[in-house]
Amino acid sequence: MTIKNNQNEIFFRNWLFLSRTFLRDLLFSKKYKLTIFSVILFLILPLFPKISQAETFQTSVSVIITVCGNGVVELGEQCDGSDLDSQTCGKQGFNRGNLSCKADCTFDTSDCISGGGGGGGGGGLYVPETKVIIQGMAYPNTDVTILKDGKIAGIIKADNMANFKFELPGITPGICSLSLWAEDFRGRRSPSFSYTLSVQSGMTTTIANIFLPPTIDLDKDQVKKGEKIIIFGQTAPKSQVSVYVYSSNPFIKEVEADQIGAYFYNLDTTPLENGAHSTKIKSSLEGGLASDFSKTLNFQVLGQDETSEEPSSGESVKIIPANLNHDFNKKGRDIVNFVDVSILLYNWGKPKNIKTDLNNDGVVNYQDLSILLYHWTG
């Protein structure tokens, strides 16, 4: 025992000596100082704000999926299967009885009995179907186009508060890809947003809290330093609109949308340096509903002795290159769909027609497909 204790003591003393020596060398030796500095930098660098444009401003979206038929009461459901969310006939205004849940996750009070006798509501056989419901906010009184697996499934009009709700019955269970886009009151298009989800057989899957990003436009894309640029567009009524301006010192300004969802912001270019800048928008509402970013628009700040090119509105009236076959809908808007993909595929590799080479790199490949898919309308 004594020998073992001595060995332990020796080991401990050696360890202490080595540690002390190592620390002394680390702190006071020149050749180690650079190493220490780098290691410290390595450890603390993640704490510094990242410098890339995409990561300077954090986004938060609040889309959620709820499933009626999974036995768990979720947002928008009164009940689900045997889960009645602690509700009873009594709490529903009846005297007694057995409260149950219908297949559409609403209460079945047919077995509830009130004082005058007889229960109310419910009844009838409900056969659960596989269904998807999409609901959210776009722009007031405008059309929202819904695509399923890249094809138009329907067009719904948002109400005057920008709310919309669309049902897709008879969906095949499995992976389902749904896309949405909307046009505002001036025909400006929102970016498309896709939601890929698993649809369960015999259940209703609801995608809620969708908030399409605002549309954005500029009154001019080139100004002399000190002049103003108006950034405007449409979102949901009374939204808080955050205007992000990217320059060497990015900044955010807040404005409020009016009762029809229109917003505008007068950007003073005095503090901006000469050169190219960009801007994009996002909206939020009380209660935490937040949109993703709008499209990014570019503008140029010119010096006093620079001349501007012929001013052009940020709103494009040209045919977008991805609309390869130049077809338009009844409102005169470009259609980009499977026909354009077909034309792209026909020209795959070395293009027979250079118009199909969307990024002008001399070859038609998956990069051109990506650009085309970005402009997809269905």
């Binding site: 050749k31 500095f37 986004t59 992976i175 896709s194 890929t196």
Partner: protein, 328 residues
């Protein structure tokens, strides 16, 4: 000597400095991975490896090009299935280079893919299912490796994601591979996971429409048809097209969209059939309008009309003659 040592430390420190910036400013959380992450398979077994994609919250991609390497001396790549895949557009058939053991596929999704949504009961991030079969491995090779061979299937570094930003900006994903253990087969019948999938698939491919188009950018302005669908179970295998005048006759030919029509006069009944890997078929039909033909009835009508006019003219002329005679 001490100068050389100092130089080494300076270089080492500089590398750590640069490395710090590199990894904390450019790394993406997008991850390409394979499931199951590991597995044991016996000689003759047919098994499925799924390629999946995870994304960070603010990432949105619309095209992926993936290249994978598998041990071609140990495994046979049987097929690829896009059944229940998040990719809805497959511009080119996937390729399997059996000599080099490389699988390549490209796929796209209109509107992009943003990752898992809170509350979604499933993963919804499947890209493709790859079906492999374990080859007959010589017993000597197994004996030399202690009755098991460890190998892996991995994504290659040139796999790429493209952002849904209109600029095809590339996004370099993190890659996670799968480790496999090959064991001798002591069973009579090898397992076949893919056969089980095929036997369970009783669902047709999704409904679709067929459009007739004509454009100067394709097929020298000749008529062609466009069609596209998906299959949520075993995946699409091929399309077939039939063009006949008689609705009770069929003349099926394999083809893809866009498909150049043989009958450029558009006189035929066009049928397009989507067939999935389990043999389930969905057929969509376009009946084209027949051209106007001059039927005998039509000709008779013209003759009758001409006769009526002729008679009217005769009657008028006759009346004029009688009136002239009366006046005289």
């Amino acid at each position: 000597m001490s100068k050389i040592k100092n130089l080494k430390y300076i270089i080492f420190s500089f590398c750590i400095f640069i490395f710090s910036f590199c990894i904390f400013n450019k790394v993406s959380a997008a991850t390409l991975y394979l499931e199951p992450k590991s597995g044991e398979y016996k000689i003759g077994d047919t098994f499925i490896i799924e390629a999946r994609l995870n994304l960070k919250a603010e990432e949105n991609i619309n095209v992926i090009e993936a290249n994978l390497k598998y041990p071609q001396d140990l495994l046979e790549a049987v097929d690829l299935s896009f059944g229940d895949s998040l990719l809805t557009i497959i511009p080119q058939p996937p390729t399997i280079d059996k000599e080099k053991g490389i699988i390549n596929f490209v796929g796209g999704i209109p509107g992009g893919y943003s990752g898992h949504i809170a509350g979604d009961p499933g993963l919804s991030n499947l890209l493709v299912k790859m079906i492999f079969k374990v080859r007959e491995i010589p017993q000597d090779q197994l004996n030399a490796n202690g009755q098991q061979i460890k190998t892996e299937i991995n994504f290659l570094d040139n796999s790429e994601l493209l952002l849904n930003d209109g600029l095809a900006t590339p996004l370099k994903p993190t890659i996670q591979n799968v480790n496999l253990t090959i064991l001798p087969n002591n069973q009579v019948i090898p397992k076949d996971e893919w056969l089980e999938v095929l036997e369970e698939d009783k669902t047709l491919p999704e409904p679709f429409t067929v459009e007739i188009k004509q454009d100067s950018l394709i097929f020298d302005n000749k008529y062609f048809i466009v069609f596209s669908t998906t299959d949520k179970q075993s995946g699409l295998k091929y399309y077939e097209i039939s063009e006949t005048r008689d609705k009770n006759q069929e003349n099926w030919n394999k083809g893809d969209s866009p498909y150049l029509l043989t009958d450029q006069n558009l006189n035929s009944i066009i049928k397009v059939r989507a067939v999935d890997m389990a043999g389930n078929m969905r057929t969509e039909i376009i009946t084209l309008p027949q051209p106007t033909k001059k039927t005998p009835f039509f000709i008779l009508l013209i003759i009758l009309f001409a006769l009526i006019i002729f008679c009217c003219l005769l009657f008028i002329l006759k009346n004029n003659k009688i009136n002239k005679l009366k006046n005289q």
